[in-house]
């Protein structure tokens, strides 16, 4: 995800100081790790250079924290094209877990245990996220759901692979 685009998007509501941007960002997206000011100012500098934002006013005292930034027409166009372009669906074709399973099979180790231990870890995390979701506001719920659906997909793969382990063993060891 482009962080600069997120900053640009937050500026579409109206001019703001770097501090306001950080505050609004943390409110919506800073669930696990709040932003550093450095990240905000680095993004603002990049957007300024590209002409996607401009300085809308400077208060006495100087320094970047005194400046208010506003989105430009070019910025609005750029933001619009970013929002309307779909994110490339992740391919997930490089799987550490698959590698571990094959290596275990090749070495004659109990590959089923690799899958089972992973399944336990996934279920534990899913329980934690479910509990966290119950105590959270809508934003937190939706973010936890996103994670839960992904972990569920992993689990389904783990179960399918466990069910086809003998088949796979035969294929990789002959």
């Amino acid at each position: 995800m482009s962080f600069a685009h997120t900053v640009l998007g937050l500026l579409e509501n109206g001019p703001a100081h770097g501090y306001d941007i950080k505050r609004v960002y943390d409110e919506h997206f800073g669930l696990d790790r709040p932003l550093h000011y450095g990240q905000v100012y680095a993004a603002l500098a990049r957007l300024l250079k590209k002409g996607l934002i401009e300085v809308a006013g400077t208060e006495a005292g100087g320094g970047p924290e005194r400046k208010r930034y506003a989105i430009t027409d070019a910025g609005v166009t750029d933001l619009n094209s970013w929002l309307s372009t779909p994110e490339a669906p992740q391919q997930y074709l490089q799987s550490t877990l698959y590698t571990k399973v094959v290596l275990a099979l090749l070495a004659g180790r109990p590959a089923a245990d690799v899958l089972e231990v992973q399944r336990g870890a996934h279920l534990k995390t899913m329980r934690e996220l479910t509990r966290r979701k119950a105590g959270g506001d809508l934003a937190e719920q939706l973010i936890c759901d996103h994670a839960l659906f992904h972990l569920e997909a992993d689990l389904r793969w783990l179960e399918l692979t466990a069910a086809r382990l003998d088949e796979l063993a035969e294929k990789v060891t002959t």
Partner: protein, 244 residues
């Protein structure tokens, strides 16, 4: 004849740890040539929610039916509050099912000719509670689950999500010590699944009802305090399996 064979495990004094509400050991059940349960064990404490996971056909529903006293296992024993379910006469077992157990299935458990209110009140009526008092309590239950609006409707006239909440109201109306839920959200979309599961968790947290939650879905199982897995008719405690 005792349900437990000579070589099968049998209940011994002090065997189940103190505080356990329901304990089962070495359950086996066959249907003709099909072995549905091979050797299944299970424990649940009061107020605990335990998910029973496993692939389709692994024996989850058979385990639930045995634990709930609906099906008698061929071997093994089930202690409910220290009493052996398998050794009880059927009349005692069905009494227990009505007074202490609640059941919630995937769908279709409601009587189509009765209103949702009458359906919810039904377990109380069967236990001899008068109509007015039973229906007053039923209405309270429906209200607490957010489906009081269905009271006068028949099950065929309400949505799947509402129907399942009415079924939950009915399952809880007798304030059972254990609720047996078999794929309770299996026919629901994600949003209604979440509603029903949250209500279930609420019930467990507020009262002391324990829940045996059969599901093949990890997202649903994640609402439970812990899970066990059934594979080829054998139970496996995941936490114990993954710890080593």
């Amino acid at each position: 004849m005792s349900a437990a064979g000579a070589a099968a495990p049998s209940p011994a004094a002090g065997e189940s740890p103190g505080g356990t509400l329901l304990a089962a050991r070495g359950l086996a059940k066959s249907f003709g040539p099909t072995t549905a349960l091979h050797s299944a064990s299970f424990d649940i404490d009061p107020g605990e929610m335990v998910a029973v996971m496993g692939a389709s056909g692994s024996g989850k529903s058979t385990l639930l039916h045995c634990l709930g006293g609906i099906v008698r296992p061929d071997r093994g024993f089930i202690l409910y509050q220290g009493r052996d379910l398998c050794a009880m006469p059927e009349s005692a077992r069905s009494g227990l099912r009505r007074s202490d157990f609640g059941f919630l299935f995937q769908s279709g458990g409601l009587v189509p000719e009765l209103t949702c209110l009458e359906n919810t009140a039904l377990p109380l009526r069967l236990n001899g509670v008068g109509r007015r008092s039973a229906e007053a309590r039923a209405l309270e239950r429906l209200e607490s689950l957010g489906v009081a609006g269905t009271a006068r409707q028949r099950p065929g006239e309400v949505s799947g999500g509402e129907g399942q909440r009415v079924s939950l109201a009915r399952a809880l109306i007798t304030e059972p010590a254990i609720l047996f839920a078999d794929e309770p959200t299996g026919a629901l979309d994600s949003l209604n699944e979440e509603r029903v599961m949250r209500l279930l968790v609420d019930v467990v947290q507020r009262g002391s009802t324990a829940v045996v939650l059969v599901t093949h879905e990890a997202r649903v199982a994640a609402y439970a305090d812990r899970e066990i897995t059934v594979r080829d008719g054998m139970t496996r405690d995941l936490a114990a399996g993954a710890a080593g």
